[in-house]
Every structure is written in structure tokens, then in C-alpha cells.
């Protein structure tokens, strides 16, 4: 991804806090990120890292107890401050979203047809019902749903999980969005169905030149479909860069720890199943009281006193235009790995 391009969507200094009876949860703590046209950007992180919330915020979908600051710029406007009336022509239309659980994101009382036609006509007031219906059938065909005509008449509970997720994707793509945000869209599915749906998603992405934000905790999926990856920890960005570079030469200790904690089913690699996995010690920080320094410091094998006191900024790697990391520690992936192994 060349940096000379202008981003289609740009996040600046995004902070998100949730007010709770036990104090404010600082879910997202200053994110700066650009999304470019036609790229597939993977967002990885564990539960509570803020990976979903930062993108829910862009569409105004946060819970009511949330407060945000910063900017999300899309087509010259700051989405965070737009009133719902001005946001509605954008979300579901120019920026669409697919959620993890297709059963709870489809309305169980309405047929697939009613839901799809509504999604089309709400943004295209003059489209006739038969035209809308025709477009829905085309879209269902496109996501490889057999007998689309018949499926339109069915209710969500009559479809399998894989079929429902295809419907969700068809629904999201009906209005030809420029940006698709996919939040763990295949996590609930079997690997065989996941593989099929990822293929469909990638085909559609290439065909339409749309930008896709793919939120997941599965590093394997990111390696297979994304061009860039952004690793999040405790509401901050730890590392960003082209997927292959980041995964083969991780420069942030968290990225490397995550890679070493992931069991690999690699058919081409000699089985590494005899080694113990690297278990990152401890647990993610309590986001009501995040540590004052680097959030990963308490679990990090490479941390020193400096890391405890100051939060490292996200900065470009020396000599690289495409990679950034937020860590004081310099040095190669191999040097970091030594620290991990030494700790064990």
C-alpha cells in the first residue's frame, strides 16, 4: 500500500470510554489509522483490545454509555459528530458492516426478502419492489446461495449458520459500499464453510475495488486474506504493516508473543507440535485502570523501567515506509525472540 495514496477513511486520535457504575472503562486510547481504497486491512487483537469498538464508533453504533473523542473522516466529514440523520445515508450504504453472529443480526420475524428489500429501498427511494427483488436474487446468487428465489421467502431460522452469514454479506453488499467492515464474520462457522465464505468475500472485494476492514482474532485468516495488518492491544495500536512482513518479522513483542502462542496447523512445515507454545504470562490489563506506561509492559519479556513509565508512540520503523510500531525496544524479530525464549 503506497503511502502517497489518499485514504478513503481516516481515524485520528480516537478515544472511546464507557461509563459504568464501577468507573470509566477506557476501551480505546488514541488510535491513528488510515484505510486505503481497495485494500483488505486485518485488525487483530484479543477480547477487550478495542478492535470491534473502534469500528463500531465509525458507524455510530456504540452503546449509549460511550463517549468518544477524535475524528473519523470519510468523504470530508467527521462521522463521530454527524447526527443520525446525516449518518444514515452513509451507513448501510457507502459503509456497510457484517457482524459475527448472523442469527442475532437478522430479524427473526421478517423474511429474508423483507429485510433485503428494505435495505435497498431505504437508500434508493425510487426503486420499485420488483426491481429490488430482482437485485436481491442476483446478490444471493453472487454469494452462492442455491435456489435464491425460494430462500427469499424463508425466515432466518430456516437457514444454516453458513447460509445466514452469506445472507448477511449479500445484505451488506446490496448497495455497493465503498467500505465493508467485517467483524469476525466467520468465527462461528466451520473451517470448510469459512474457507468458502472468505473466497466469496475476496472475489467481491476485488470485483468492486472496495476497502475491507476484517476484524478477527485468527492470525491464520489474516495471513490468508489481508494485505495489511494492524495489531491492537489494550485499546492501542501495537504494530501495523504489510501482513507478510509483520508475520515473518514481527517487531513488537506483543505481535511476536501472539504468533508464538498460536498453534500452527502447517502441512508444509515440519510439525512443530512437540514444542510447548509460548504462553504470554498474566492477563490483559483492567481497562478501568490501564497501566501508566506501555499497556503490554506487565506481560512483556523485553520490558524495562522506561516502559513502565512512558507510553511508546506509534512510529515508523527505521528505513520503512509501510511499517509502524509502538515499542521502545529496537532490534530484529530474532532478538525479541531470544528474550521470549530466555524468559521461558
Amino acid at each position: 500500500m503506497s503511502t502517497s495514496q489518499t485514504p478513503i477513511l481516516s481515524i485520528k486520535d480516537l478515544f472511546i470510554e464507557f461509563e459504568t457504575p464501577d468507573g470509566a472503562v477506557k476501551a480505546v486510547n488514541g488510535i491513528n489509522l488510515d484505510l486505503f481504497k481497495g485494500e483488505v486491512l486485518g485488525i487483530v487483537g484479543e477480547s477487550g483490545s478495542g478492535k470491534s469498538q473502534s469500528w463500531m464508533a465509525t458507524l455510530g453504533l456504540l452503546a449509549e454509555n460511550a463517549t468518544t473523542s477524535g475524528e473519523v473522516t470519510f468523504d470530508g466529514e467527521n462521522l463521530l459528530t454527524l447526527p443520525p440523520k446525516a449518518l444514515n445515508p452513509i451507513r448501510g450504504n457507502r459503509i456497510a458492516m457484517v457482524f459475527q453472529d448472523p442469527m442475532t443480526s437478522l430479524n427473526p420475524y421478517l423474511t429474508i426478502e423483507t429485510q433485503m428489500v428494505e435495505a435497498l429501498r431505504i437508500h434508493n427511494k425510487r426503486m420499485s419492489k420488483p426491481d429490488a427483488r430482482k437485485r436481491c436474487v442476483e446478490m444471493l446468487d453472487r454469494v452462492a446461495i442455491p435456489a435464491a428465489d425460494k430462500r427469499l421467502k424463508q425466515f432466518p431460522h430456516e437457514l444454516s449458520g453458513g447460509m445466514r452469514q452469506r445472507v448477511m454479506i449479500a445484505l451488506a453488499l446490496l448497495n455497493d459500499p465503498e467500505v465493508l467492515i467485517a467483524d469476525e464474520p466467520t468465527t462461528a462457522l466451520d473451517v470448510t464453510i469459512q474457507a468458502e465464505i472468505l473466497d466469496i468475500l475476496l472475489d467481491l472485494q476485488r470485483e468492486r475495488g472496495m476497502a475491507v476492514v476484517f476484524i478477527t482474532h485468527d492470525l491464520g485468516v489474516v495471513a490468508e486474506i489481508c494485505s495489511r495488518v494492524c495489531v491492537m492491544y489494550a485499546g492501542r495500536l501495537a504494530e501495523i504493516g504489510p501482513v507478510q512482513d509483520v508475520f515473518t518479522d514481527a517487531r513488537h513483542p506483543y505481535t511476536l508473543s501472539l504468533l508464538k502462542a498460536t498453534p500452527r496447523a502447517a502441512q508444509s512445515q515440519a510439525a512443530q507440535s512437540d514444542d510447548a507454545l509460548y504462553a504470554i504470562p498474566g492477563a490483559p490489563p483492567n481497562m478501568r485502570m490501564p497501566p501508566p506506561g506501555c499497556p503490554f509492559e506487565p506481560r512483556c519479556a523485553c520490558a524495562d523501567a522506561h516502559c513502565r513509565e512512558q507510553v511508546p508512540a506509534l512510529e515508523p520503523l527505521q528505513g520503512s515506509e509501510t511499517r509502524l510500531k509502538a515499542c521502545f525496544r529496537e532490534g530484529s524479530s530474532a532478538a525479541l525472540l531470544e528474550a521470549l525464549v530466555h524468559e521461558r
Binding site: 468458502e196 491464520g220 501472539l258 500452527r264 496447523a265 507440535s273
Partner: protein, 324 residues
């Protein structure tokens, strides 16, 4: 199968459920597990893999006789559980314990950690004094990496990873010979998952425990398994040494399943994917031929007519007319 170190031997096991069947409708039979045989040695981990609906959890539950066995036998330490009364089975459960998928939901919210971990002792070793019980709880917690001051806390105070440790401690306190773990790490984040997987492999080694491991995550399975059993619609497709199957799967279904796993592999010779089309057929149909034929890229006429039997191919058992 007469090996002295065989802990568990499952022979021709079938589990069927009746579905529906009221005044106005005819009942259908769900064939969740169909004619499955395998053996588990002491200190060995056998993993059962398959898509959702393949019957892997039912198979595990049938082994513990948590569901009724329709046909076949489950021989644990030389005794056929299928022929024992419920009461007799309950006594045998000391030897076979289970760890569940959802760590928080599987712990009673109104009991302290000590009470939860001690409960199996109350059932299986009621003769122990309170003192002895506490000592056992302490030892087990220590072995699992739970701190002594957690004893009086409640499940909701723990993270998923800690809660799963409590679940494992509860299972191990009666020193079972067989541990059944049904998706024990699928609810956990990667970094926590690694902690629990390492723990399971440590205790397995230390106690020469036999582990029946159920998971849909084939990367995790590769990491923990000695042997692998691939299940499709309740039928065994392929069973053998995990290393061999991962390196060189012989059944078309195993091939498709393994090739669908997303991997971090940027090499040029990355294996190509075998695509499956369609979804799992209904489990209420009784199959004359191979149950996988409707989705199999290799299927021929015979596959729909005749059910393939398990045959030894490349050192493991494969149920396919055209293996390789």
C-alpha cells in the same frame, strides 16, 4: 485391542435420538453416532475432529454414558459401561471426568472455588474427613497453578482462563484415568489458550492420563494429539496417528478439512485448497452408501451404493472406496 495398556475401547458404538413424533407427525431418527470403534491407550491423547453436527460431542458424551447408548459397547478399564445400571455407572465416573467448553457456565455461580473443586470428592470419596478434603483441594489447586488465596472466591471473579483451570482442577481431583475435554479452549483468547494447552499437556505427562480431546480447531488438535479420529455425520472417515494424517491425509474429507484451515504460511509451495461445496446433509437419513458422497469431489457410482468399510491404508484406517 487386548493390549494391557488399553484404557478405553469403544466397539461398534451407535447413538440414535428420536426426533419429534407426536399425534400428528412421525418421529424421525437422528443417527448422531454410527458404528464407531476406537481404542485409547494409557497416556495417549486421541482427538475427535469434524464439523458441527458431525457427532463429536455426542460420541464423547456416550463414552461417559451421559447419553444413552443405542448399540455397541464402551469398555473402560475392562468393564462394559453400556451394560451397567445408572447407579453403577455413577461409581465409575471417578475414573472418567470431563472438562467443558464454557468455563464460566460450567461452574456453579453460588459456590466458592474450594466447594466446586471438592464436590467430586463428596460424591466419590465420602469417607474423607473435611481436613483431608481440604488438603486434596490445596494440592490439586497447586498442581494446576491456582493460588491458595483463590479458595474462597466465586467463579464470576475469574477470567475465562482461570475459570477453565478451576474446571480442570475439579476434574482431576478424583484422579481419573480418562479425561474428556470437549472444546476446552475454544472460548479462550490465543494467549490464554496457550496457557491452558500447555497445562493440559503437562498434567497428561505427569499423571499418564488418557485424554479424549474434542475440538473444531485443527491447529490446536495438531498441537495436542497423538492420534486423530475424523468424524463425518457420525461415521469414522479416518483414524490413525495424528502426525501421519496431518502429513498425508488419505480420505478426501480429511484432505478437504485440513486444507481449509487458514495458515500463516507465505511460502510458494503452500498446498492448494480442496473445496467442498454444499453443507452437511441431514443426520436423519440412513445412508446406504458413503455419507460423504454428496459433497465428495472424488465420488463415483459405487460411493452412493455401498458403504465403505475401514481399511488400513498407509498405516491408518480409512473408510473410502478411493483413498489416497
Amino acid at each position: 485391542m487386548s493390549d494391557r495398556d488399553t484404557i478405553l475401547s469403544v466397539e461398534n458404538l451407535s447413538v440414535h435420538f428420536r426426533l419429534g413424533g407426536g399425534v400428528f407427525s412421525r418421529a424421525s431418527i437422528v443417527r448422531a453416532v454410527e458404528n464407531v470403534s476406537f481404542a485409547l491407550q494409557r497416556g495417549e491423547t486421541l482427538s475427535i475432529v469434524g464439523e458441527s453436527g458431525s457427532g463429536k460431542s455426542t460420541l464423547a458424551r456416550a463414552v461417559l454414558r451421559l447419553v444413552a447408548i443405542t448399540k455397541g459397547s464402551v469398555i473402560l478399564n475392562g468393564e462394559n459401561l453400556a451394560q451397567l445400571s445408572n447407579n453403577e455407572v455413577r461409581k465409575r465416573r471417578q475414573n472418567m471426568q470431563m472438562v467443558f467448553q464454557d468455563p464460566i457456565a460450567s461452574l456453579s455461580p453460588r459456590r466458592t472455588v474450594e466447594q466446586i473443586i471438592a464436590e467430586p470428592l463428596m460424591v466419590h470419596q465420602p469417607e474423607l474427613s473435611g481436613e483431608e478434603r481440604s488438603a486434596k483441594v490445596r494440592d490439586t489447586m497447586d498442581a494446576i497453578g491456582l493460588l491458595p488465596d483463590m479458595r474462597n472466591r466465586y467463579p464470576h471473579e475469574f477470567s475465562g482462563g482461570q475459570a477453565q483451570r478451576i474446571g480442570i482442577a475439579r476434574a482431576l481431583i478424583v484422579e481419573p484415568t480418562l479425561l474428556v475435554a470437549d472444546e476446552p479452549v475454544s472460548a479462550l483468547d490465543v494467549s490464554i489458550q496457550a496457557q491452558v494447552l500447555n497445562l493440559l499437556s503437562d498434567i497428561k505427562r505427569q499423571r499418564s492420563l488418557s485424554l479424549l480431546f474434542i475440538s473444531h480447531d485443527l491447529s490446536v488438535v495438531q498441537h495436542v494429539s497423538d492420534r486423530l479420529l475424523v468424524l463425518y455425520l457420525g461415521h469414522v472417515m479416518e483414524v490413525g496417528a495424528a502426525k501421519d494424517i496431518y502429513a498425508n491425509p488419505q480420505h478426501p474429507y480429511t484432505k478437504a478439512l485440513l486444507s481449509a484451515v487458514p495458515t500463516i504460511d507465505f511460502s510458494a509451495n503452500k498446498p492448494k485448497r480442496t473445496r467442498l461445496t454444499g453443507e452437511l446433509p441431514s443426520p436423519t437419513v440412513e445412508h446406504v452408501g458413503c455419507p460423504f458422497a454428496s459433497r465428495c469431489p472424488m465420488a463415483q457410482a459405487i460411493c452412493n451404493e455401498q458403504k465403505p468399510q475401514l481399511n488400513t491404508v498407509e498405516g491408518r484406517d480409512v473408510a473410502c472406496h478411493f483413498p489416497g
